[in-house]
Subunit: 282 residues, 6 copies
């Protein structure tokens, strides 16, 4: 008898044959409101079996592709820098093997080390950032490393003209100012995605989806609830419009599953995972 | 003093004078994800008193019509066939009395026996099927009788060109193929309802509404949560556009009330019940 | 060391310097379905710190204005009239000081005494009423003072041609008739707000927002769930279109926070509070 | 076909043949913390079918006795006195027919009118009062009629030496003083029940059980949670030790079912109902 | 990189070296009240990591023993007999390999096939049955195979004088009579466990723990809530007193995790699992 | 008008006249299972008004004593050391003013800085530690500062023979060994409290209560649920037996209120707060 393997639905290839490596980064140490995103990848694996592997949107099936699920990283509690190092080392391994690291958070700060691993191989990488929050603060209550500063830290890595933000509906005035000079920021909606995609054709792209871009009516299971987000269909449309891009790294973050006892938010996260995987693979 | 009568709001006529007979079929024995739809009709009766009997959409009042509430069937646990027989017998009785059987599930498999009772009297009956799932599998894990095969079983009864599906957003590839040849299937939305209604004018029609056609933001209380559904207003519009059809049987299924502690999903089910009843009666 | 001050975010001026005085009216004694709105203002103070003070919609910041938070009134249980008197006395004090009373309910009946305090100073005040329910019954189960009669009681105060209703999707037939002669009622949506605003330019206006105007997908935390409401974005648009009006009193009512364990409804209420405050102050 | 009858399990006799008449008093208008007890009797009817009718403690079966379920009273909202009058009138009818009125609350204030109906026929009636709270205040925030004053109001009816309290673990100092002179009060536990029962042999007795006497670990579904209560087994023992008393009226109050989503508290209330019914009937 | 292995904490040996094989039987098809036990083993694996592997009660550590986790069986929905066959086949395999099958339910009916596999090798096996319910009905609503008949079906296999029941607090009168002649039944408590253990020294024993033997204050996450159960400490004491018995098969059933959003019931199930495993292994 | 003051019930004196200063330390950055204790002090303030100020156990009233509520500290996220420094500075201020610092967590690590502030003034201070977990690890996943190491860090400060542990029911083997030589540890219960109290008469004592010492049936609202704890009455007895000790500092930690939607755990925490305050003040 074999040991009990647990994967996201349809992500059951070996590491060697895989094009994409999915893994969990169960960290929520800088969350400033309701923590709990650490439980997201574990519960998503279980709940993903409520889904089909076939996408009626794209008319393709995850079972026809090769994705490996590397499980969750074991991360310490109370030491932010050690967590980031562990993630970066793991992502380095994936990138070195010529595969795409696709991380499931955890809070948004985990995007930083995954992006850094990708950036070493693709120094010109651009960032497509879907979120309710700009995450562009220079620090948060004195801390440079925070879910609220992650895009600023990523900007420290990639520089100007590389960050494209969509759906932003919450920031400080100072972040708003910063974004005008150092990023391309669409407030409230995602209508500019197609034109950005056209402009980035053939260039390496990293996609980070903070699921709180969604309206909390469809995604209440998150740490900082911001009413006024986009609908699930709008997010799907945006994801599908990425088809054809050269996506070299990705993440989906900020599901806090216990904050939504109905299971809705976890189901949403699983479906975004499936559709983004298939969009990359198609 | 009289015994305590419990009915859906406004459904308090006698059997004899009633045009429609509402009854509950509290069965969830083939549910493949989160069971619990057996509690739907009992809780809907209690919660329906949070509604008015007057519809501002249709400008008519349920109190001006005659609907009888026959209560819930007593159904055994663990024997699917016996359950289906009990429902069919009960529905036969209603149809024989010249009344419209309007069933409240329970899971979707209960539509099969209700439809069969109707079909005996109206062999040419067409099916209007509102759902997130096509339910067209030939079997589910080896079982022919399943909530995931119910429309296939109904197709076994009514044959080609009788099943019209709306809002479908989840199926296997094989179901997708089957639907192309044996049903009329609108994916994702309900925009073709008016043209189908026009085509079916004067013909007998059975309406089955799996409430998971709704986006789970407004209906998380169901067994298999599928993000990406239609809005409540879109469903209401579809229901109201059935006005004038010769509806000879109906059901509303797949509310799993304990999966949504806020009461939202139960309220939605009650309002769909009121509006569909009034649409038939108008 | 100072005592622990607790306020809605950004509402930390002194009474003297304040333009607006926010206060809580934790009463739900006539609620006919699920009570619990008494907990709204206390929990909103805590949860409002999940928000920013800056509005990206209006591009202004609550920290640049003066709002005083007067805390919650201490109200008895089981005696409706005494509760209404206590609220009216408190609101009188605010109005006498030349400030705008902005009340957070509580159930909708609390609007009556706040409006009465405002009406004494502005006898020609008009009412902008956002709600799912018309609240125009003459009595409710024999009671004249009820959340279901509050607009009728307010009509007793202000008379014909003063009440503008938006978003109404539930009433009795009799209320529907009454509204045709004594109020201006838009059913289901808020599209007429801009034209009403234009008509009321420079006149004193009282704004009452029953948050159940929102679809319960985004606001399940309320006493009587009515599917089919407007979206959060539609409500924000309506609120923002009030800019420039001479708003002399306001309230936000019917959040029942424990009915929604995710915190979504409370977050919605806080954001509406922020945006309405800023709309008045802008 | 018959209309749908809904009763507490095993309470399906006719009024005429019944020894006991059970009815619901869904009132929570003076609740000072979390309201919601109005939903108790309706949900208990549904959930009672998770129980057996046979008691392994008493070795008798509810199906061998005659209990009538009169349903829930229709009570207005926001007018305490009218509610109390409606309950008293209904209880009068039961007492006049020579039957025992057994009320299911609702909050504790509803005990007052039920007791008054019983007292008219049995002026010498004694009260066995099981509760966490003494409920002996002269008024609560100025209100004479309150769940927190109900035993004081009952004392106004029956006078000294008639009230026996058990399990009390919360009161004001003033109540504590009052209880020393006008009631017989056992704090924290129920160990004196057998000696009180012996003393009251053959005398008419009214039993009122505020279920919050239980520790909230087993009964969190109540309006005012008071840790430190008795266990379920201790309450059962106390109830069973009432066997042989001449119980002429009874009530069970303060279940607030929505405050406990697991269904535990409702199951507890149903089992206490069954055991107290059988203890009276045995 | 290796695939993601998911096991109960401390159950990570290979099949070959294991003394005990743990596996999940996610079936709840005959549950008569709230279904949902199918989710128990999957969630217990995740939540078991909140525990230590070391038992301070027994002063031994699960990491020093060999237990294999075989994962969950894939079971069809709606066909009880096929489910039972699949379980029996799997258990046969374990028993044939000379290992102890330790099943995690699912509902109680799954004990039947596991016991049958054990019984083939140990025809004289006795049953220690911990439960709130006697489960001795001859049928339930006409069905022979049911969670409410499972001990009667096991009695069909093992005959008289083999079944020892503890903690039973709910049955029909007929079951009570049956138990007097065909089983050894302790009502309400587990005090006779030590004497039964002494009598069964050296004989093969199967242990089945329906966790609803616990009081629902500590275990609300189950399908049929029966107040009045034993405490967690009493269950632990009973489990520990099995030390030294020749346990040849075991199961733990009836956790319904979604019915308890706090995670308490799942934690209880995990701790009972650890302590029973260690008791067998010690 | 005054600003809105929010305090724990009965803690409304000024800083100057206060004997005890209560304050909140909303930190949960090293929590290894379900985080969320940061919300404890804020919600306890609101919910404490469901309690009386009078203790029927001690027959004294909090309103007759002087306790100041200093509010919650503002603590950064993601930097453990900065958090500990902020707490220590605040506690220093209280100790310097000759008052008793009484902290409400937050997770257990916050006890370290509060104890350190007390230790500077009372170098011979002993620790009474009530908990489910020994918290004596040398590190947790490589981190020296953790809720799982806090008593080891306190031992680094106070040395051998100063730490008395009660109720411990979970540790690693290594912690168990450590405790034998460096602490006085009672496993599972609190029966040795009176003898320890007798031995510490007149000596300075710091009391730390990790509320997860309680059985999770009465306290599910915590980060790491450990079945098998003491009852609420046992904890009250232990607290009351501290009467007469020279308590110079105290804390209550590990309430995670959102993990228990019924409010039970928060009510428990509030009552322990009241009884420990009164025990110190008596």
């Amino acid at each position: 008898m074999n040991k009990n393997i647990s994967t996201f639905i349809g992500c059951d290839s070996t590491f060697e044959e895989a094009e994409i490596v999915v893994f969990g980064a169960p960290f929520d140490g800088t969350t400033s409101f309701r923590p709990g995103t650490r439980f997201a990848p574990g519960l998503m694996r279980l709940e993903s079996y409520g889904l089909e592997t076939y996408s009626p949107y794209l008319d393709i099936d995850l079972e026809d592709y090769y994705v490996f699920d590397g499980g969750d990283l074991e991360l310490p509690f109370g030491n932010t820098q050690r967590v980031l190092d562990a993630i970066e080392n793991f992502a380095d391994e994936i990138v070195s093997a010529g595969k795409i690291p696709f991380m499931v958070g955890g809070e948004h700060l985990v995007s930083l080390p995954n992006l850094k691993a990708v950036h070493k191989r693709y120094p010109e990488v651009s960032i497509l950032h879907f979120d309710a929050h700009a995450d562009l603060r220079s620090d948060y209550m004195g801390e440079a490393l925070s879910h609220a500063t992650v895009m600023r830290r990523i900007w420290n890595v990639v520089g100007d003209d590389k960050i494209y933000q969509f759906g932003i509906r919450s920031f400080e005035k100072a972040e708003s100012e910063f974004s005008k000079y150092h990023a391309t920021t669409e407030k409230f909606s995602c209508e500019t995605v197609p034109s950005v995609v056209a402009a980035l054709k053939d260039k390496p792209v990293y996609v980070t989806i903070d699921l709180d871009i969604l309206d909390p009516s469809v995604f209440p299971g998150t740490g900082t609830i911001e009413p006024g987000g986009i609908t699930f269909k709008e997010l799907l449309t945006a994801v599908h419009s990425l088809t054809g891009l050269n996506i070299v790294g990705a993440d989906i973050v900020e599901l806090s599953p216990h904050n939504d006892t109905s299971g809705l938010s976890t189901a949403v996260a699983c479906k975004v995972l499936r559709e983004l995987l298939l969009t990359i693979l198609a």
